[in-house]
């Protein structure tokens, strides 16, 4: 470590804690989006640090599309119980009734109804004026320009041309009724930072990130895990057991696995260092067109 200076992970950790405290101090009714993935795990860990010895003064919100991996839900419930935190689970019941699913309705349509709309419903229902998200600027091009405190209008939309200037570590938290802020404490972290931090801090993550034998089928170059009986097998398709892991976790029909022997965290970080593809490649929603994330965010996606 360089003399007299904090390591890059410590600098990032401290910055995130500052942001998390700032949100808790300035908003009436904040909530932390908890997606159960590795970024959420880090964000939650930072929240525990930020308020210690108090507990984080806000609930967690999980937007459940009903298509998450079973192991994710199990991990979520265990984590919340172990830490004694409040968890709100919200699903778009209208979407569930209409039977919206990623197989029949296309990833884009499905994501809009079960994620974006569901999220907006939950934020409106509980009247949250700030919501933490675990997004990082290195994930995607439109994220690179998003603020740490990202303003959303009363219909939850993001306007890239009307972003508030953000200087130093001073964040503008003022909103009118109905408007809100999405706060991104991990803005300056990279995927590698996340893994290094998980390793250094011994943070629990969903076992799906580690390689294990899992039933998968291959579709247009992507390995999909057959997580439950709702997975419609095509003619001639039968699940194969393969050693796979996931670099990113979402809805199982939309999340590609990679073949890997990395059964321990250390190995995962090792593979990560040698990786030749970026992590969102495993996510099918970003591929529609070059500006697909920007469009989604304008509609209110995280």
């Amino acid at each position: 470590m360089e003399a007299g200076q904090l390591s890059h992970l410590k600098r990032l950790e401290n910055e995130s804690i500052h942001i998390i405290r700032e949100v808790a101090a300035e908003f009436n009714n904040p909530v932390m989006l908890y997606s159960i993935g590795k970024d959420s795990a880090v964000m939650l860990h930072l929240a525990l640090k930020a308020f210690y010895p108090s507990k984080p003064p806000f609930p967690l919100l999980h937007v459940d599309t009903t298509w998450k991996f079973k192991e994710m839900i199990k991990f979520r419930d265990e984590t919340v119980r172990k830490l004694g935190l409040d968890l709100i689970v919200h699903s778009n019941s209208e979407g569930v009734e209409r039977g919206i699913n990623p197989f029949d309705h296309g990833s884009s349509n499905y994501t809009h109804v079960m994620k974006t709309e569901a999220l907006k419903q939950a934020l409106d229902k509980y009247g949250f004026d700030a919501a933490f998200g675990g997004a990082r600027r290195d994930e995607e091009k439109s994220r690179a320009k998003e603020r740490v405190f990202s303003f959303r209008n009363s219909s939850h939309a993001w306007d890239p041309k009307k972003q508030r200037p953000e200087l130093w570590s001073i964040y503008n938290s003022r909103v009118s009724k109905g408007e809100s802020i999405r706060a991104f404490p991990l803005s300056n972290w990279t995927e590698l930072d996340i893994w290094q931090y998980i390793l250094a801090e011994g943070i629990d993550i969903v076992p799906l990130y580690l390689a294990a034998e899992r039933p998968v089928v291959q579709r247009s170059g992507t390995l999909l895990m057959v997580d439950d009986e709702r997975f419609p097998l095509l003619e001639g398709e039968s699940p194969q057991k393969k050693m796979v892991r996931f670099r990113t976790l979402g809805c199982y029909p939309l999340t590609g696995a990679i073949e890997s022997d990395a059964t321990e965290l250390n190995d995962v970080v090792g593979e990560m260092l040698l990786a030749k593809t970026s992590e969102r490649q495993g996510r099918l929603i970003d591929h529609d067109d070059a500006a697909s994330m920007e469009k989604k965010k304008r509609e209110g996606y995280f």
Binding site: A25, K145, A291
Partner: protein, 636 residues
Amino acid sequence: MGFVESIQGREVFSSYIASQENKGLLRFLTCGSVDDGKSTLIGRLLYDSKLIFEDQLSALERDSKKHGTVGEDIDLALLVDGLEAEREQGITIDVAYRFFATDKRKFIVADTPGHEQYTRNMATGASTADLAVLLVDARKGMLTQTRRHAFIASLLGVRHVVLAVNKIDLAGYDQARFEEIKAEFEAFIASFEFDSSIAIPISARFGDNVSARSLNLGWFDGPTLMEHLETVDFEDAAMNGPIRFPVQWVNRPDHTFRGYSGTVSGGILRKGDQLAVASSGKTSIVERLVTYDGELEEAHPGQAVTVTLKDELDISRGDVLGSANNRPEVSDQFASHLIWMSETPLYAGRPYILKIGGRTVTASVTEIKHKIDVNSFEHLSGKQLDLNEIAFCNLSTAQPIAFDPYEANKDTGSFILIDRMTNETVAAGLIWFGLRRATNVHRQALNIDKTARAQLMGQKPVVLWFTGLSGSGKSTIANALEQKLHDLGKKTYILDGDNVRHGLNRDLGFTEADRVENIRRVAETAKLFVDAGVITLVSFISPFKAERQMARELMEEGEFYEVYVDTPFDDCAKRDPKGLYARALAGEIKNFTGLDSPYEPPEAPEITISTQDATPDALAERILERLQQDGVLSAI
């Protein structure tokens, strides 16, 4: 360079990963315009540090064919121009943050556009940067914009600069050309007193001297750009200063624990240190430095901790704890640089929200001392500040705040201004020094106060603030009301354009800036009349919400009646008692409210009257009844 690809075996890996955990972090900004190859340089840095993945590369090839500007080659710039609009226009219009790492350091790059109209964005990027890379085209050399970039970087307290002389390939890798630019650069920045500065010749497009040495530049004996970024010593000066700990959050899990959570912003905070609360001056001793990972003996700038003190003091969010023997300044008046970031201009006298650390107060600019031309650095005079303008100003806050000069501490010396109506961030401020005026001019304590005067008069002094378009009937109604009050034996006074514009405010015109100042003076005068016990009727168009709000806040609760005379524009124009509408519509009068200057109607006036459904006398009667109901007309 890059992540070592040949490492094999788990143990080697583990130790490699462990070494990567303890790297330092350098934040830098790149400034220059698209033409200088700024985006290409960042693309090159990412590419060279192997942070471009195969899928991104194939997306890049696709995009290069669609929008690229370098023929068949992959256009590295497209990698960084993020938003849709930018990809189409080929310009970088916002600050984007990029990340890469080498074996030695991790880097966060603030990628900021170069044109003058983006001063706002560059200042944003510079506010968190340890170093600035100023990019010039070797063929063009130092430009006006390069000087502007150096100035803004210096103003924002960036201590290290690199002049990257790019496109040296197009200048024939010519040493003489490079030396010429370097000499000019060194002469220019001498006055800025950067801690370090260096000029480096590079070709971002071909990679010469970015991260790999180039045979084409064999004559250059300095480091590559990457080597310099990896090794430049940028120690945080705040560490050697006095202790500063802005309190972010009071941590009270139960009655047994009371701590103050925040981030150390200056000095080294140790157990046993004596600290003072800046606002109250009370002192105590640091008992514990609590963190999730255990108690600390000391905490450095940038560390987020929770402090407990030996004594129970009244401390809340926004307070600053400082070394007891070296405290921050506390004042409600100070001088600072302002960088204006809004399309709506700044007017002296208009109130804004000021946020410094965890503290939020109402503030206004009392005087624009001078504006600074960012290209020539000349001082200019001005009554308003427009988007991207920088000025040296005096500010005053509604309550005293604790601060340090920005030069001494960036955290306690910086603030933002927020518009009270739109909630936009409109300015960034850098404090230079406190103005002692407020503390030295003590108010003369008077024996007879407002209540005593009001009692003698048998009334409760209030302001009736009539607002509405020109010709809406404000003055007519105010006159009728004053007559009625007078008949009841009440002491009154009317402030209107006739008696104020010709005397007190005769130096003011009708620009937006002058209108703001006009209303400020009227409001202050009304306050004096109320203090004298008088029922004060103010009849001014007062078109802006912000100023009416300011007037309201000068008075005490219940003393301010906003009376909205709601006459539609067409009616006023038809009535046109002074012939002003005819002249304005003919283009003879500029800045006419309702025509080419806006009127912002009140959102929650105490009284709204419409001249369409009653005579002025009846309307005055209605207001009188309201005052009677509220007890204004009887003794306190």
